[in-house]
Amino acid sequence: MTTSDLESSPKRNPLVGLVEGVGNGVLGVFQTVGGLVSLAVSVAVWTVRPPFRLQNLFAQFDFVGVGSIVLVALTGTFSGMVFATQSWSAFELFGAESLVGPTVALTVTRELAPVFSALMVTMRACSAMCTELGTMRVTEQVDALETMAVNPVQYLLVPRVLAGLCMVPLLTMIFDTAGLFGGFFVAVPLKGLSVGTFVLRTQNLLAPADIWEGLAKGAVFGFTVTLIACYRGYNAHGGAKGVGQATTRAMVDAAMAVFIEDYFMGLLFHP
């Protein structure tokens, strides 16, 4: 055993290790956030610069948006049904079953629709995006674009991020409709609430502002999750394993970002 081995053996102050670990973690977070912000700026700049490749953009709209419709509609219906069932059993205790309609409506439009739509897009579209971009990076296809004087941020990233920004709010609307339908289905045909009560109560308590809140969240989440997927994929390195790791990190980061942003946007709308 050499002296340096002895020095780094258990005698080392554990507090130093802890501080080091926390420090590195914090640094990593700052590095990622910094990277994301600079990528967002770059995406914004390249969005407004010609040439505009509408074909690429619509292909991504189709992939992110149209491809997720069924998934989001199903998730929405069942979320509404679950929420109606649970709130029914609680409201039943003090005879407030008529509030099930507005409860489902408010929860779905403000929270569940944007959050779940963004998570579904993350799972379905962002994972594919990250893997595709990562593979293109490690097989030098991104470099090939660059040597052909085509900016890869503009060619690859702009349509993907725009698709997230535009399509997640639209999916949120679909989720809203499906969720309300699910809630209605449980409360009215299954539990026996009258149609009039459900509709009137919901109309009274659900304001357009609630729907706008959900759509705004959807846009922000959609932008964030696609940006994160693009960032991780675009910066992937180290072959197939590296692409796998990039995708894992993208999924984790994107899902966490949705929940964190959701809280802060909630504060913004309801200070």
Partner: protein, 254 residues
């Protein structure tokens, strides 16, 4: 030794330094590549070959030094000017780097669609012509995954020369190929050279290939070019590392 050239070199690298963190990769590179010649940059793994070639096309910025391409210093250029300069280049990547979601036709026509106003018929004719230069036909509708390694390299070259570049860069064109395919790719480089009169820069650690295709070989060792000249001259250059490098091949191959 050749006499002082009358025309300025197509690529001139002057006192180029680059480090990544503590790792000094390039330590003062000086290299001139004449117009219309084939220069092979020879070196072992980790000698800095790829980093050097990435400086030539402006994918990396040096810590110090100048890179002249066709008379212009590209080091201080911004993205827009670099894109203009990059149109003078075609690059053939180690793994071909074909866009695997596109057919051969879409791959080769990609740069034409991006940078020219040609009609579909003109594009089709141009793609045919370039695939003809690299000796391929009836592959337009196939995907890269359906081609052999050698064919992929050829499509990569066709894609690289579609805008009629002045310079073609080859990144390790024969690495990982079997001897017959290696021969096929060497022939491709020589043929493309004679048909197109471009300036070619090849980075390689394959001595046999290098000696076959090169007008000039530059030996890169630990971030410096320690010897350069025509292949036959280099064979007798006394530099110990170069001799060591060459010996390994001549022992194995002859």
């Amino acid at each position: 030794m050749s006499a002082e050239p009358k025309t300025p070199p197509m690529i001139s690298v002057q006192d180029l330094w680059k480090s990544f963190g503590d790792n000094q990769v390039l330590t003062g590179i000086d290299l001139d590549i004449e117009e219309g010649s084939t220069c092979v940059i020879l070196g072992g793994s980790g000698s800095g070959k790829t980093v050097l070639i990435k400086h030539m096309i402006g994918l990396l910025k040096p810590d110090r030094g100048k890179v002249f391409v066709d008379g212009e210093d590209i080091v201080p250029m911004d993205d827009r000017d670099l894109e203009r300069v990059r149109r003078k280049f075609g690059m053939v990547f180690q793994g071909a780097a074909l866009f695997d979601s596109m057919t051969v036709y879409e791959n080769v026509s990609f740069a034409l669609r991006e940078h020219s106003e040609l009609s579909e018929d003109e594009i089709r004719a141009k793609v045919r012509e370039k695939l003809g230069v690299v000796g391929l036909q009836n592959v337009e509708e196939r995907y890269p995954a359906e081609l052999s390694g050698g064919m992929r390299k050829r499509v990569g070259l066709a894609r690289a020369i579609v805008l009629d570049p002045k310079i073609v860069l080859y990144d390790e064109p024969t690495t990982g190929l079997d001897p017959i395919t290696t021969d096929y790719v060497d022939d491709m480089i020589v043929t493309a050279q004679s048909k197109l009169q471009v300036t070619s820069v090849v980075i390689s650690h394959d001595i046999a290939s290098s000696f076959k295709v090169a007008d000039k070989v530059a030996f890169l060792f630990k971030g410096k070019i320690v010897a350069q000249g025509p292949p036959q001259e280099l064979r007798h250059n006394p530099h110990p590392e170069l001799q060591h490098f060459l010996q390994m091949w001549f022992e194995k191959g002859e």
